[in-house]
């Protein structure tokens, strides 16, 4: 089916990246911390499948280990966003038209006034660069994204008659949020989570590219690019492959998100009006 194509390609790409990251814990073709200047700038082929960099390190091995960093940073950052953002959004919706809602939403607007990179820069300026600070910066930026999304969706769910029925039964706003609103948000959160995950991978790459992310010797895709960009004319593969790794990961996540959205689309699944009793 045409609609599933995105989903399948997305799943395959994401699975590949995940697998590479997991395997790297047990095995990589070469040791990524060992420098071997004699083997520098080897072209892709055998024995180095994707070639070597200016220190003679195997690029494939570095990409596999770097995938861990990308996944970890983006995943934890999405986790922070969901963990704080969703309860805030649900709470704002349950207390619609009150001061509480106003404060939460204005707080969100405030965070939006700082692009993720600025938050990262400020955190770095204060605490110094590092993977943890990158996670915090991207995570903070994710909070208002999820808060807004879940508030908007929850507000429309609060208008539905099933919430009215639950209120007639005497259930509290908190209980309704957990029992009735949250289960109906899961699809939406999964789709948005995938998209934020992909943005997180891009942001992590950008931060480590400018030196604000993971510090040496931990390999990360962004820093591989930063270190190798001057060698483009000598050995283009040192720039091409880390970039491709980022592109394929982000592409896979986006296709997965789109595919999930199509899959969950209520317009495609809703049963039609038939009124036989």
């Amino acid at each position: 089916m045409h609609n599933r194509r995105n989903l399948y390609i997305g799943v395959i790409l994401c699975a590949m990246v995940l697998l590479a990251a997991l395997v790297s814990f047990f095995w990589t073709p070469y040791n990524v911390t060992e420098l071997n200047i004699a083997e520098k700038f080897k072209s892709p082929g055998m024995p180095y499948l994707l070639g070597t960099d200016h220190f003679g390190r195997d690029i494939l091995s570095m990409l596999m280990v770097g995938a861990r960093m990308s996944i970890a940073v983006a995943l934890i950052a999405v986790g922070i966003g969901i963990l704080f953002g969703v309860p805030l959004g649900l709470f704002a919706a349950a207390r619609a038209n009150t001061l509480v809602e106003e404060v939460i939403m204005r707080g969100n607007d405030l965070v939006f006034a700082f692009p993720a990179l600025l938050i990262a820069i400020m955190i770095t300026a204060v605490f110094g660069p590092g993977a943890v600070n990158a996670i915090i910066a991207i995570g903070i930026f994710n909070i208002p994204v999820f808060a807004r999304l879940s508030r908007a969706a929850a507000l429309s769910l609060w208008q539905r008659d099933f919430v009215l029925s639950a209120r007639v039964s005497g259930k509290s706003g908190l209980r309704i949020s957990v029992e009735h609103i949250l289960p109906n948000l899961l699809n939406l959160l999964l789709v948005q989570g995938t998209i934020q995950f992909s943005l997180g991978v891009l942001a992590e790459a950008a931060l480590s590219y400018v030196g604000l992310g993971a510090q040496p010797p931990v390999p990360s895709w962004g820093r591989m690019l930063a270190e190798s960009q001057t060698f483009f004319s000598i050995a283009s593969h040192v720039v091409i492959f880390p970039g491709l790794a980022i592109v394929l990961t982000v592409l896979g996540l986006n296709l997965l998100g789109d595919g999930l959205r199509d899959y969950f689309d209520p317009r495609l699944r809703q049963s039609s009006w038939n009124s036989t009793s």
Binding site: R160, D161, F162, L164, S165, A166, R167, V168, S169, G170, K171, S172, G173, H180, P183, N184, R269, Q270, S271, S272, W273, N274, S275, T276, S277
Partner: protein
């Protein structure tokens, strides 16, 4: 020779046949009514004539309009026919207009794309058209935006766009379904006037037999993509027509047998006339946004000093048009609104707003809402949904007791107990309303509030659900507060009725008396606006 003749029309969407062998004709100066329940294909027939079918559809057959075969016209030529020779109006006036452009601009567009009229001529024709649809330009200048108009006024704008160039045929697809009954009467009168004055042919599509019966010169009855019968209203309603037409008529005029128990009940109880529900001086105000920070904040009274009582086992109706405050009143009775005055008592106990307080009266009061699709959380199984009111039960049931209680009510409303394991999307609209009734029933309430509970259902389904409600009322000694905009339904099931307008109860009394000799002018207007089926199978 008829103005429009449809012969052998067949339409398939993605290969699936939807319309089969439709034959219809419309004469100039005459109204053809098309009736049928949802899914009968009546709207699709209209779109076939306009050649505005959804993507993926294929149509065959012949449609001849004023001697031209519409199917053989090029798309460009068809564009010249639409709006100039054939106009069309739609069901939902709230969304049928472009919100970003003025009404004058949108009406004038019809004129500009079909004629070479200069600015003055366009302006003159525009003002003239506004007058023809009874929107005097002095009150409704063309510079208004759609959101500044009411639903009925917007529908007039849509009609103005359709008739500006005096087309010979007008197709109206459920033109009054989204409107209040008094507005409906005015729009129908306007349409009839245009037919009589301009001699245009009108194709009037509706699910409401009464609407069509009062306006049409000929009626076609459709079901499942087929025209079952067509002829004059007289013949269609004579009983000498297709059995389905008779069935539809029976369902539309269905009156469930009511056993009035209000009187006997109060005797049995022996506690005099202590009412089940007592609403006293109820006031609900909403604050409106202030015009500026210095202005005093204004408020809007949605419910204004409403008092009434409801006896044990009584069926009380509450009628009123949209915006009259009946939904707010419903929520107030259920304890879901903060009151600015007055009180609600159920069995003598006050119903309080707030989540923790007063669970006891809530337990003996349940509600069924209008929308059979929105009333259920799609993520939970039906059994869990039905058990929800047990949350407020004074004594918690254990798992086994709960399961048997759920099974019992599911079976009582005419479904199978296994249905509890399914999700709500597996049920039809009528079945969902039965499940909603089961949910209301499980706490053995003394009162069920039915808020437009049958309004979204097709007539045949509606008749069966009404029968069920009446049976349950007798069996479990339940009182109903039956809230509806549909006077004929209220008339058929209630003993006493309240009429509400602008937040106030303007009239109350025995249903028959109120409807037969209304005292308040508004009630009279309301009653007179209801299209009546003058034909009866009996």
């Amino acid at each position: 020779m008829p103005l429009l003749t449809v012969t052998d029309l067949k339409v398939a969407i993605n290969g699936e046949p939807i319309l089969r062998d439709i034959d219809l004709s419309v004469d100039s100066g005459k109204v053809l009514g098309i009736v049928g329940e949802s899914g009968s294909g009546k709207s699709l027939t209209a779109y076939s004539i306009m050649r505005l079918l959804p993507a993926g559809s294929t149509a065959s057959g012949r449609i001849s309009f004023a001697g031209k075969s519409l199917f053989s016209l090029s798309e460009a030529a068809m564009c010249k026919v639409r709006g100039r020779d054939i106009g069309m109006i739609f069901q939902e006036p709230m969304t049928a207009l472009n919100p970003l452009r003025t009404i004058g601009d949108q009406i004038a567009e019809t004129i500009k794309i079909h004629t070479d009229a200069n600015r003055d001529q366009v302006r003159r024709l525009l003002l003239d058209t506004l007058r023809r649809v009874e929107l005097p330009p002095e009150q409704f200048p063309p510079s208004r935006y759609p959101h500044e108009l009411s639903g009925g006024q917007r529908q007039r704008v849509v009609i103005a766009m359709a008739i500006a160039l005096r087309p010979r045929l007008l197709i109206a697809d459920e033109p009054t379904t989204a409107l209040d009954v008094t507005t409906q009467a005015q729009i129908l009168k306007l349409l009839r006037r245009l037919v009589d004055e301009d001699g245009l042919g009108l194709m009037l599509i509706s699910h409401d037999l009464a609407v069509v019966a009062n306006t049409a010169d000929e009626i076609a009855v459709m079901k499942n993509g087929v025209v079952l019968d067509a002829g004059t209203p007289k013949r269609i309603f004579s009983g000498d027509s297709h059995p389905y037409a008779t069935e539809l008529l029976e369902a539309s005029t269905h009156v469930p047998a009511i056993v009035s128990r209000a009187a006997e009940k109060s005797d049995v109880n022996g506690n005099g006339n202590a009412p089940l529900l007592e609403v006293k001086g109820l006031v609900r105000e909403y604050k409106l946004p202030r015009d500026n920070i210095f202005a005093r904040s204004k408020s809007f009274r949605a419910v204004d000093n409403v008092s009434f009582t409801l006896q044990h086992g009584e069926n009380l109706g509450l009628v009123g048009e949209s915006g009259c405050g009946k939904s707010t009143l419903t929520r107030a009775i259920l304890g879901l609104e903060v009151l600015q005055g007055g009180s609600v008592r159920l069995n003598g106990q006050q119903v309080l707003f707030g989540e923790r307080r007063g669970l006891a009266p809530r337990h003996s009061m349940q509600a069924v809402f209008q929308d059979p699709f929105g009333s259920f959380n799609p993520r939970h199984k039906v059994a869990k949904l039905i058990a929800e009111p047990l949350y407020a039960a004074p004594q918690k049931l254990n798992r086994i007791e709960q399961r048997s209680a759920v099974a019992q009510v599911i079976e009582r409303v005419g479904l199978r107990s296994q249905d509890g394991e399914k999700y709500i999307h597996e049920f039809s609209g009528g079945q969902r309303q039965r499940i909603a009734i089961a949910r209301a029933l499980i706490s053995r309430p003394a009162l069920i509030i039915l808020d437009e509970a049958v309004s979204a259902l097709d007539v045949s389904v509606r008749a069966k659900v009404l029968d069920l409600l009446v049976e349950l009322s007798a069996e479990f000694d339940i009182a109903y507060l039956f809230i509806s905009h549909d006077l004929s339904v209220v008339r058929s099931v209630t003993e006493r009725v309240l009429v509400m307008k602008n937040g106030r109860i303007v009239e109350q009394g025995m249903t028959g008396t109120v409807f037969n000799s209304p005292q308040h002018p508004y009630t009279a207007e309301l009653v007179n606006s209801v299209p009546v089926l003058g034909y009866s199978v009996r």
